[in-house]
Each structure stands twice: as C-alpha cells, then as structure tokens.
Subunit: 438 residues, 2 copies
C-alpha cells in the first residue's frame, strides 16, 4: 500500500495535482453569486498506483434539462476500477476524473422533463465513471430508445453523462444495491444472452469468489441441471460450495483438475481474466462449447500500470483462425457491459435483464453478497483487497462513513468473512479542501 | 465439364486407376466359393476434376455383427462432395473410395444383435463417405451412447463404418429423405444450438438457395419474429422470397445492401463460404451478435483442387484476437456436422435435433426441396450444377436411374426450376465392369 518506486511511473502531464493544492480550475465562490455547494468525491489524478487516488471536494453540478441529481449512499468497487486506476481500460478520459461505475442513493433533484423519477426515489446507478461522489448528476438512459433517439445519447456539450438509472428494489439494502448492477447484469447476460447456458451444461467460471462469480453461482442454480465449476482462492471454497459443485484453487492446474471430474471437458468457460492462453480454454471445451472472455483481470500484475506486461499479455494472446473453430465445433466470444451501454448504446437487452433480475430479487431467489464496507478515504484499501483477491462478493465504499479508527479496524478485520488484513497505515488520502469545478 | 488441363494436376500415387482397368485389388470370383454379388457405386479414383469420378462395380460387403445392409434408392449430393472430390476436406481417406454422405433406402439385411432395424424398414443414412452405392453396409450410431460405449465407436478393424441411421418418415419421398440430413440437421443445429437464434434476431445467410439455405429458411420461419436476409443468385430470388425478407445477389456488395435496410447491422451471420474476410462479417454484427462459419465453399475455385488458392484463402483468413471480441461484444463460432458425428463422436445433440425435425415433418411444417434427380453416371453433371450454384434445394442421384437420353435431357432442362444447362457431353463415365473388393 505504499507508493515506493512510483516515481518511475511518470504522472500524466498536467493531470497530477499535488495533494493539498488546488488545481488551476479552482474557482473560489464570489460574493455576487450564491455559494456553490461542495461535494466529496474520489478523484483519480493520474494513472498508476494508489497515490493517484484522492478524496477531494468539487463544486456541485447543477441539474439541467432531463437530468437528475442523486445523493449517494454507497458505491460499488470492482476489478474494473482497479484497471481504470492503472489506465488499463480503453476509452478512459484524461485524469483528473471521478472514479467509480456504480452507486445507490436517493434522488435529490430532477431537471425539466424528467418523469420517470421524482425527488426521494431510491435509485441504483451504473455509469461509465464518476460514481464515487456524494452528489451525482446524470441523464438516465431511456428504456424506450425511440423516446429520445440518438440526440439523447449524444446530448449537448455540457450535458451530464448518461447512466443506467433504476429504482432500487425495497428488498435489498443500499450496500447490496450499490454493488448489484456490475455483478448481476454481466452474470445474467453472460448466462442467458451470450453463452446461452442450458440444462445439461457444465460451466467453468474463473474468479468464482468475486462479485460476478458469486452472482453467476446464484443465477446458474436457477437453470435446472447446470454443473458449475469455479476457480478461486482456497480460503473462499467453503463459502462457494453452496453454488459450485467443483472448486479449484487459484494456483492449481485447472485443466488437469477439470479433466479429473469431467474427462470430456466442459460446455462453457466464462473467463474474466483473459490471461491464460486462449487455446488452453478452447481445448477444454466439448464440441458445441462456448468460451467467453468478459474481462482481463490478469493484465493487472502489480499496483501500477506496467505497460510492458500489458503489451506482452496482449501480444501473446492466441489469435484464432475461424477455420479452427469450424473443425472443432467451438465458439469464442467476448462480453463487456460498459462497452455495450456507453460506447455501443445497445441498451434494450439490459432493461430486459433488469426486469428478470428484479423479479428474482422480489422472490428472494438471489441475494447480493457484500464483502465489506469502507469510507471514501479507504478507497485505496478497498481496491487493494480486490487486487489481492481477498474479497468474497462485492466491496463497497460510502461517502457517509468515516475512516475506521485503529480499534474499529481491528474488529472489522476479525469479523471480515475472508480474514482480510488491512494495511496499518489506513489513513489513506486525507480529504483535501481544494475544490475543482466539474 | 471437360478434363482439359488436368494433366497438370498429378494423380495421387497408386490411387488413379485408368478407366476400364481393374485395380491390383481386383479379385475374380473363383468357382469354389459362391459367386460374390456386385454392387454399382460412384468411386473417387483420385483428388481433382470430374474425370476422377467413376461408376464401377464392387464386391458386395457381407453383413457382420451389429451391422445392417441398405438397398439404396436415392443419394444426396452436397457441396461437401465437391470439396471431397477436390481433396479440400481434412480427414479424407486415400482414394480410391466410394463418395457420398447421405442416402435413403430399404434395410436388406441385419447382422447379429441389431434390434432397432429389421429387413424392409425404410431408412435414411448419413455417413462419413461411401453413400453413393446400390448396397450400403454400415453400423448404426447408437442413440444411447451407454449402449455400447467407446468400443462401438472404434469397432473391430474390419467393421463396417459408423453411420447415423434413422427411420424414414412416411410423409417424405425417397428423394426428399435422401437429401434431408445434410441440410436440415445443420440448419436446425445452427439455429438452435450454435447461434441460438431467438425472437427479434436478424439473420444473414450466405448461399440461401442451397440445401442448408432453404432448410434454414423453413426452420427460421418457425421462430417468431426472426428476419432472414439471404445472398443467392438472382435467378433464385423469386423462389426464396417465401422464406427470406431481403435477398441480395451473389455478386452484390452484401455489406452495403444489408446496411441499406438494417443500418445497425444484423445479430447473426451464418456463413457456408468462409471466403470473405472475417472482419467484414464481424463488422456487420450488432453487439451480442454471433458469426458462425459452417463451411468453406469459397475455397472451391475451379473444377480441380488448386492448392495455391486453397493455401492463400487459409492464410488470408483473419485471425481474431479474443480481446477484440470482448471490446466489440461479439462471438465467432464454427460448426461441422460430420466432424462432430464421425471425429468427435458427439451424437446426443443430433438425435435430439432429429426428434424435433421428425415432428416438424409429421406436422407438415417443413418440406424438403429437391432440385433435380440424376443417375449415378451423371454424378459429374450433378456436382457441376452445385459448383455453378445453379441448384435450388438439393440435388439427388440414384442407382435406379439410367442416364438421360438427349431427348429426355432437353425436357428435364425445360422443367428444371432454375433453368440449368447441362453439358452436352452428358455421357459421363461409362459403367465399367472392373470390380474391386472393399
């Protein structure tokens, strides 16, 4: 958790703001205009290690036409946030920007023309980034795309970013809701729309103990006669046995272990890592099998962006000749929820999945698993827990929480389901008083 | 249809038997043993042009334990047969061997232990090759794989080859049945098991007028709200409009034509050609789209095997990085029925598909389309019709037919649905009297 050696990773020009100093954009409220409210958020000041995460105050954005403001209660933390911090995702804005893809909160204000939401509604939000804030202003993606057409997707130059905004079901807590969309939507779409998992399928899931892995576990149990095999740290196996019929340690040779119980291989592989060579997973598939890549967590090799390792992983990934797939009767596919929502604007299938998931929540057939809850100031520690693969289910951060005192911290450690050890220098980034306009 | 220039294509060593000469294996019946019955078949004597196809007499195989003999009525001719003749498929035996993958006939004899079939049963057969014969001896793939396990798949060294043997539904003619399996099984499995076509899908089918293309047309109509787009010679468009909502000429730019009606692209591409660069078809897919290659007919560039063109096509096919599929939310897959049945022994899914297809036949919901019927001696002309993409539906050859007289031929031409022009030197290969033991 220390920043040693990070000096070798040059900060992005103009993006890194030394702690405690305001950015050039800082604008002190003048006496002539009403005072601008300040909002606490977790800012990324440059791509790299934990020191580029900073809790900071920003001017609150006003709500424009078709926009809503959400007073945030809790935010989901995912592996994608770790990759975002390290600059390993495509289509990232230039820092500084507010981190985070999902949160839960109450509608605080609605702009002109908003009819679907009213002040006081509890909502859950999935956005491209910017979710780790006290006060979030977004435009909701319309459920019926004909409602507003492309111009809604584009929006005027100063429009708030698009986000998936949904009413929070009453049966889930704010923490559960904050970490729901980035786990259950991918899990549902992977099973039903991408890999088309059916009765009789044998499904291998990598990183079974994470947010998506546990969601896949719960959702796949609802399809009759599906066998789930998971890879996960052995410390998580006990908790995972309720969903997975076979569990393989993260450091074991999963091909050999799968073949012990299933000599003919599996029918589906769901791979959030992309690291192992593709031919290894393709070789494990039965005829008509589907291998789906939905993440590249294996590209995260340390705390900082390592361009050399990244490039090596990319280059070394097997390219596949379609005729090999023809000869072997196999399918190779990829899935990225955020690409689909925010770059491809392919949204109807997401609303359909949400309807199905809502129903399952109401019926109590799925139960989001929250690993632990942290303050904004502890975002670094929260991410570190993911990086160490110590989480079981989802990690949540909240602007309403204060950083734990050493005493509390010790208790939290004891009660944490996977016995996480948090760094002792948990002070993290101090909340700075500098403000930037958004 | 002439063999000019074929001298440049060296015959496979030891495989080419000059017409009218018996092979070394020829064994004249001796007076001491009962006379061995002779069976007419279409033999491939070497990989290359039409001259390597020969109608010949072979000794009839006797029926061993677990085997059945079928008196063949009609045989299906497919694009794979053209590729087999040219040696463009993997896993081909060394010529000479009997051509053909499917036929229809009556069970003439059953070996010890056969309970599923009895003499007189009308059956349809799909085999790896060897179907173009008067008298076919095979072992039926068991419906329940536990019935006989792997040793059934392997069989003793002199065992008859494995084949899918099914009872012919009474509602279809012998010609329809002979050409049913290699069209409707791939079409069904592609739609339901590989591409998982659902309501709302927009499906682009290449070579829509062929056997599989017309079968896909009929089967996709049974899935509500599926839009079918086909590419086919313009002469076939009139007949295809009953199944396909948009038809594109074979020589048109299909990407541009599809985009005219569907600016966002399609959800599924079913490609029997493999020739166009893969990125072109992937680029036409909507997010969550599936591009399935199930043939490589574009590799057939002339009457003879052209290794240079073949290698060029193979090398030029785009290799795909799985991370590209992740970024674009797309799937790439392959399907080969014969690979699955005869190399991978993955059979249960085929019997399931057959059950569904039988039901559809009984209900009159599908109606196999036969393009034309030819004698064994006209096998060259039958294949030539496929190569010229002149067929609408399936081409059939029969050991029961005599080659057409010039008079008949003219009439057949006039009544042929797509106005096929048959070569005037239709004498084809004369039936030789030499015999080879199998």
């Amino acid at each position: 958790m220390t920043a040693e050696g990070e000096g070798t990773n040059p900060p992005v020009a103009g993006a890194n703001v030394p702690e405690g100093e305001g950015s050039n954009e800082t604008e002190a409220p003048t006496t002539s205009s009403p005072p601008v409210k300040q909002t606490k958020c977790v800012l990324l000041t440059g791509f790299g290690g934990p020191k580029y995460l900073r809790v900071q105050l920003k001017d609150q954005r006003t709500v424009g036409k078709g926009e809503i403001a959400v007073e945030v209660e809790a935010c989901g933390v995912g592996f994608q946030d770790l990759m975002m911090r390290q600059g390993l995702l495509d289509f990232l804005s230039k820092p500084p920007f507010v981190m985070g893809s999902e949160c839960c909160g109450k509608v605080a204000e609605v702009g002109e023309g908003v009819t679907k939401f009213k002040v006081g509604d509890e909502v859950i939000v999935l956005c491209d980034n910017g979710a780790w804030t006290e006060h979030l202003v977004v435009r909701a993606i319309p459920e019926d795309p004909s409602e507003s057409g492309t111009e809604h997707m584009e929006g005027p130059g100063n429009a708030a970013p698009l986000a998936l905004v949904l009413h929070k079901p009453t049966s889930v807590s704010a923490n559960q809701a904050a970490a729901f969309l980035m786990s259950y939507l991918p899990a549902y779409l992977l099973l039903h729309n991408v890999a088309c998992v059916r009765s009789g399928d044998i499904v291998l899931v990598h990183s079974a103990g994470g947010g998506v892995g546990t969601a896949i576990g719960q959702l796949a149990k609802l399809i009759p006669d599906v066998k789930l095999i998971g890879t996960a740290s052995t410390t998580k196996h006990e908790n995972l046995h309720q969903f997975y019929s076979q569990l393989i340690g993260s450091t074991q040779d999963y091909v050999a272990e799968v073949k012990k119980e299933h000599p003919n291989g599996v029918t589906v592989v769901l791979d959030s890592r992309s690291g192992e060579d593709t031919n290894k997973s393709l070789g494990l598939l039965q005829p008509l099998g589907r291998y789906i890549v939905y993440g590249n967590s294996s590209f995260v090799t340390g705390e900082r962006k390592n361009l050399f390792n990244f490039a090596k992983s990319w280059i070394q990934m097997d390219r596949i000749n379609p005729l090999k797939l023809l000869e072997e009767n196999k399918c190779l596919g990829g899935f990225s929820l955020k690409q689909m929502l925010f770059r491809q604007h392919h949204t109807s299938v997401v609303f359909e999945a949400w309807k199905a998931l809502q129903q399952l929540l109401v019926e109590g057939k799925i139960e989001p698993i929250v690993d632990s809850e942290w303050s904004f100031e502890e975002a670094k520690e929260a991410l570190h827990k993911l990086q160490d693969r110590k989480n079981f289910g989802k990690v949540v951060i909240s602007p309403k929480l204060k950083p734990k005192e050493p005493e509390q911290e010790k208790k939290a450690e004891e009660s944490a389901p996977t016995g996480t050890k948090r760094a002792s220098d948990s002070a993290g980034a101090a909340t700075t008083t500098s403000a930037t306009t958004s």
